[in-house]
């Protein structure tokens, strides 16, 4: 009797499961045409993608560093930039935008550190995304940033890193060692002491 009982309850169960499945199918069908509602409501984001409070720092040991892609482009001042030209020096690649609050907050630390380390050892490079050249230049004036930044409004540099160590948020900072390999990634706002220690760690490495 118990067998029959349980099978009966399962049958009813399946009835509801089946209905749920068909409902799910119907919902899927509806959502796949979600492009129809243009103009009715405008689902625009409320902000930009940036890190809020979350901070992560990853250091890659010398043996397990992914090679940085060959990236390049035009800088904010119209010069040509190529990452390959920096081989032999440690590169601090900072992804930023003038609109981004954590970027503005970390800018003084970056400006100071770029002065602290000699450019023969460590080169700072910015990658300005989702911004305008005029606003970005104004930002650099405000914070006294003298190192170059790629004018990357289409996020092509960030995209080039997609298969290795993508910058997960704005701001993100990548440290590239002397042989052109990614040694560390910081997602979120860097601090003066934190980034200095990280750079020192990469500088101390053999490669």
């Amino acid at each position: 009797m118990t067998r029959v009982k349980s099978s009966a309850s399962r049958t009813a169960w399946l009835a509801s499961a089946g209905r749920a499945a068909l409902l799910a199918a119907a919902v899927l069908g509806v959502t796949s045409c979600s492009g129809g509602a243009i103009g009715q409501d405008t689902p625009v984001s409320d902000g930009q993608s940036f890190v809020s409070g979350s901070y992560s720092s990853t250091f890659y040991a010398a043996g397990s560093r992914p090679a940085a892609p060959e990236v390049g482009g035009e800088t904010l001042t119209g010069q040509h930039f190529s990452l390959a030209g920096y081989r032999g020096r440690v590169v601090v690649l900072n992804f930023w935008g003038s609109w981004c609050a954590p970027c503005r907050s970390e800018a003084p630390a970056l400006a100071a550190l770029s002065q602290h380390f000699g450019s023969d050892q460590v080169s700072f490079v910015g990658d300005d995304v989702h911004d305008s050249v005029i606003a970005a230049q104004a930002f650099e004036r405000t914070f006294g940033i003298s190192y170059p930044s790629v004018n990357d409004q289409g996020e092509q540099v960030a995209l080039a890193f997609h298969s290795t160590v993508p910058p997960d948020a704005i701001p993100s900072t990548l440290l590239i060692d002397r042989s052109g390999r990614i040694a560390a990634r910081v997602v979120g706002e860097v601090s003066y002491s934190g980034l200095r220690a990280l750079i020192a760690q990469v500088l101390a490495g053999k490669s």
Partner: protein, 576 residues
């Protein structure tokens, strides 16, 4: 629902309602004193896979998603979460501890849907296995008393028992019944497609669940607002909203880039539908890979762009007025299009803010509206038409601290004026080319013109196609199990007391669904009678009654004695 297994019903017992089967199991096990770990586990499993539990879980799932819509969510609107923290400094950390700002990623939320999934799978999988077994089964042995079956008949023939049996089997074989023979009997069964349909339905149901899970784990949704002339790449930093599945990493995103070259919208010019949009088109240029060839695409409503399985939909549009700001030191500090968000659809009046964080000596902020077709309605500004016929912008000016340098993220569509002061500048509408000069030498803003923007939704759901296939398969299985009935035919031969052979026929259908078996049985019986060279009906019908000891099948009061029209096979139809 037809997706039930009839074999269970035929084994007897009326399914009683009420307590779950597992409870009963547990009780009987306890009574017999063997209530060990295994029994507990089995009881737990039964409970989990019962309908009641699934319904409770479904309800819990709905209940658990409520905080997800009431509280701001980190993944959707991080700025709102920050604001919530500022407004409720005591409550927010407590809520955060219980994943209140990440409800759909919370462990307790995952627990509910994983249990629901297990419950569903635990129900469907064993059933599917049972159905698969049942679909491969050989027909059962012929019962002793065929007269007791819902459909029965008997034919008398002069042919030998062996020959009669062979002829009957031949009839079934021609009709593609599955056969089983024994000593003096043949058992035939047909309609296994019913079980196949059932099986298909159950497997498809599992497939549907797996597809939904696949989409949830490996799919992602994102939004990006793009002003004409701008580009973006499909990478997390470039997306305004990014909702990845549980197992999606930034490296999994398809590396395409999109440029919005031009956005075109046309509107109904007159009549009652005046101002309604009639046409949208976003001329895109895109590359599927880094360094790949650039292609053009005309993105329209319900005409998404498909790149590497990712769909890009056009979901919104609006205006982005272009501003230039010169600060107090004479530097050009701002020159860009600022997306304004429509606040109403009939005239596309749009609101937005301009933040100039690098203006010196003070940061500047402007908040206002863009009116595509500005009109004066009794002293108030309004937009009469969604197209930019007479574009005007009206701004309120602020100076002070925008709050951006603190590092606290804020929305680009909100102006935090807590540390700013409003400047005594008239918010009179500006035409393209006109400027506001700020007092105290703080700078000058010029309304240059406007561009349009399009809002794109990027969705990747690897479970979509499997879900569609599963849903169609489930439907097909359901239809199959509705249409096809499983039916059994039995033949038993025996020697008649006065010489010759009696061929008894019995029929059974295992569904109480649609009729039609009665006619099929009559047809089969007729064919068999012909095949075995059987004799007249009345004789044939009475004969089995006397042969079957102790029963009076076929001779019950109320049974039809003779079919009108001289049917040569008599049928005794009993109650269901």
């Amino acid at each position: 629902m037809t997706a039930s297994v009839q074999s269970q019903g035929s084994q007897g017992g009326v399914p009683d309602e009420g307590q779950g089967g597992g409870t009963r199991d547990a009780r009987s096990a306890a009574a017999s004193g063997k209530f060990g770990v295994i029994a507990w586990l089995r009881w737990g499993w039964r409970q989990l896979t019962s309908m009641r539990t699934a319904l409770v879980l479904l309800f819990l799932l709905a209940l658990a998603s409520i905080p997800g819509s009431v509280l701001p969510q980190q993944g959707i609107d991080p700025a709102a979460v920050s604001r919530y923290y500022a407004q409720h400094p005591a409550l927010a950390p407590v809520l955060a501890k219980f994943s209140g700002f990440d409800v759909f990623g919370a462990p307790w939320f995952a627990a509910i849907y994983l249990l629901l999934f297990t419950s569903l799978a635990g129900c469907v999988l064993p059933r599917a296995l049972r159905l698969a077994k049942s679909a491969r089964q050989a027909p059962p042995a012929t019962p002793r008393h065929l007269g007791r079956l819902p459909y029965s008949a008997a034919v008398r023939t002069t042919a030998g028992p062996g020959q009669a049996l062979e002829s009957a089997a031949g009839v079934f074989a021609r009709r593609r019944f599955r056969l089983r023979t024994g000593d003096g009997w043949v058992s035939a069964e047909k309609g296994y497609l019913h079980e196949v349909g059932n099986l298909l339905f159950h497997v498809a149901l599992l497939g549907l669940l797996a597809s939904v899970a696949l989409g949830g784990l490996f799919g992602y949704k994102a939004n990006r607002l793009l002003v004409e002339g701008d580009s973006f790449a499909n990478t997390p930093t470039a997306l305004d909203v990014f909702r990845p599945g549980r197992l999606v990493a930034a490296t999994d995103l398809q590396p395409f880039s999109v440029t919005l070259r031009r956005f075109t919208a046309s509107y109904v010019q007159s009549g009652p539908e005046r101002g309604q949009p009639s046409w949208f088109s976003a001329a895109l240029r895109y590359t599927a890979q880094v360094g790949g060839p650039a292609r053009s695409y005309d993105l329209r409503v319900n005409h998404p762009l498909n790149v590497d399985g990712v769909q890009v939909f056009l979901i919104g549009h609006g205006y982005a007025p272009v501003f230039k700001v010169t600060d107090g030191t004479g530097h050009l500090v701002f020159d860009q299009a600022v997306p304004f968000i429509p606040v109403e659809q009939s005239g596309l009046t749009s609101a937005g803010v301009v933040k100039v964080p690098d203006a010196s000596p003070q940061q500047l902020g402007f908040a206002g509206v863009f009116l595509p077709t500005a009109v004066d309605v009794g002293g108030r500004l309004a937009s009469a038409f969604p197209a930019a016929v007479f574009p005007r912008v009206s701004l309120v000016s602020y100076a002070g601290d925008l709050g951006l340098n603190s590092g606290q993220p804020q929305s680009v569509y909100d102006l935090d004026t807590r540390h700013m002061h409003r400047m005594p500048v008239s918010p009179a509408p500006l035409a393209p080319g006109q400027s506001i000069t700020l007092p105290h030498g703080l700078g000058k803003l010029t309304f240059v013109g406007y561009r349009q923007w399009a809002s794109l939704a990027i969705t990747y759901d690897p479970g979509q196609l499997p879900a569609l296939i599963s849903a169609l398969a489930a439907l097909a299985g359901l239809i199959l199990s509705f249409l096809v009935r499983r039916r059994r035919m039995f033949v038993r031969v025996g020697a008649a007391p006065d010489g010759g052979t009696v061929v008894e026929l019995g029929g059974l259908t295992r569904s109480d669904a649609a009729g039609g078996f009665e006619a099929e049985f009559a047809e089969l019986a007729g064919e068999i009678r012909k095949a075995v060279g059987g004799s007249a009906a009345a004789e044939a019908r009475r004969q089995p009654a006397s042969l079957v000891a102790g029963t009076a099948a076929g001779a019950r009061p109320g049974d039809p004695v003779e079919e009108p029209g001289g049917e040569d096979v008599a049928m005794a139809r009993k109650g269901e």
